[in-house]
Symmetry: C2
Subunit: 315 residues, 2 copies
């Protein structure tokens, strides 16, 4: 079954790929086996993240970059993740349009992912989808995610380069600062840069960059774009090339991947522990030990959890 | 230090309460001790949850219910949680107005909580804030939360009764279904019920209720309100009373609290395990064992995590 799917994916069957991606989204118990099977064949494709507030034009930007990547001979996988959306699987809004644009294009694969009622593991699921796309021969992965909360950050952190995209209006700057994604940027993009306030926004970003200390020595540049009018796309590609070159020359590219790998193994390990705890509770094994004491207020949830932890080998 | 704060809280000092709540939000290492200290003194106050899509008027509804609870002699604590907002601590938007309304009111305490960049533990933090409010003598706790994703659900599940609030427009019904919060309702509220489509929405809800099977035998009623015009508030209170009475008569009230307690201890236990994993990774103790193999593609993240788990006693 998995053998057949993997074979089809190698032969470029997009429907087989979609089915395997669904297994990732459904957190199929076969997932660890699937990943173990494909891992030796992965090429560690370049992954670029695009994040920012809703409405900043991330989808448009990514859409307009696709032809430029294609011209360089790449096959591109796009993973659009919205941690605030309960929609999932198929396409939503702009993605639907893009999919129609590219549905007959064998060199572009676009997939939307939402929370499906559970935030847990969304970052990990998107990393695994990237592995499947790598296995299927896509050699550039573009992550596109709403920069809100931990999950947005985690997905962005899974990329080799991160562009933070904003528009000069609606308090995007302040919102991006508060959401804690400003500091994720390797490149800033001021999209819809023909609008009022674009210059002010560029100056605000540059002022902030000037006041900051960057451990790696790379000072994030700001690119002005008008994605809908195809303006600024070449400049973005150039800055991206410069950044990747800088990372590789200074040993930072491998260092970052190493750190991401540590984060990933840690996330999976936590998830395994979470399942163990859950199954221990589901079977009621440790329930009676603690519950009565808490109900009588002779103990409390924290004390009880600490006591249980000391016996964790029995979980 | 904690002694002094707890003493002041007992004496009704709202500033001391706010300081202790900040310790919860900051996940202070003193938290387990604080909870252990206050737990014997808690009264297990009634907790009512209000959830629904953004803009459904949850805040207005809660605001208009406050005088009705006060008339019954209650002191009310309101915990407004927005898992999608990076804002936290102080007041935002509607809450700011409410706080001005009630700032000299010793019988009402309102606190907004956001993600502060991290979703992890938001449900648990709001449960702990409820304990502090209980300790401070507030004998009704109202949770108000955007019904989006796991965290919204978890907070709602911490309540003795849950109202799902919607407005007859903007696809609220479908959005609520997809977000997976529809099934959390003990009472449905159609707010802004003077608007077009209210009757249709009521019929949709009732149709769905008729087709559903309810384990406890309680069939969630639908209340029409216009919170801004004070319409339907008494009817809501009546349905709430009926539900609580039904729960208590059938042993369901205690059963639900018991299940919530199991969930809470499980959440804390998971968090403790997460910290153990994190600290093991931070110290680099298990890093070299696995990382090189994954980088060489001789192993993969899932296999590595499973191997580490088998040695978890050494973490």
């Amino acid at each position: 079954m998995i053998d057949a799917l993997l074979e089809k994916i190698k032969n470029g069957n997009p429907r087989a790929l979609a089915r395997l991606i669904s297994k990732v989204e459904d957190e199929s118990p076969e997932l660890p086996e699937i990943i173990a099977r494909i891992y030796p064949h992965l090429h560690s494709t370049l992954r670029v993240g695009f994040t920012g507030p809703p409405g900043a034009g991330k989808s448009s930007l990514v859409n307009k970059l696709l032809p430029l990547f294609k011209k360089r001979g790449h096959r591109i996988g796009v993973i659009a993740v919205d941690p605030t959306s309960p929609f999932t699987g198929g396409a939503i809004l702009g993605d639907r349009i893009r999919m129609i644009d590219h549905q007959l294009d064998n060199d572009v694969f676009i997939r939307s992912m939402g929370t499906r009622g559970s935030l847990g593991g969304l970052a990990q699921r998107s990393r695994d989808v990237a592995k499947l796309l790598d296995y299927a021969g896509y050699d550039i992965i573009l992550f596109e995610t709403v920069g809100s909360g931990q999950v947005g950050s985690d997905i962005s952190k899974s990329a080799d380069a991160v562009a933070v995209v904003m528009v000069p209006e609606g308090g995007d700057f302040v919102q991006t600062m508060k959401a804690g994604i400003m500091e994720l940027a390797d490149i800033y993009v001021v999209n819809k840069s023909d609008r009022d306030g674009a210059n002010h926004m560029v100056r605000s970003i540059q002022g902030m960059v000037e006041l900051s200390v960057f451990e790696t020595g790379w000072r994030p540049p700001t690119v002005c774009t008008q994605a809908n009018a195809d303006v600024g796309m070449d400049e973005f590609m150039q800055k991206l090339d410069e950044f990747i070159a800088y990372q590789k020359e200074n040993g930072l590219f491998e260092k970052r991947r190493r750190e991401q790998l540590i984060m990933e193994v840690g996330d999976i390990l936590q998830d395994l522990l979470r399942r163990q705890v859950k199954s221990a509770f589901d079977t009621g094994a440790i329930e009676d030990v603690v519950l009565e004491k808490i109900i009588k207020h002779e103990s409390d949830p924290y004390t009880a959890a600490h006591e249980l932890l000391e016996h964790k080998t029995s979980l």
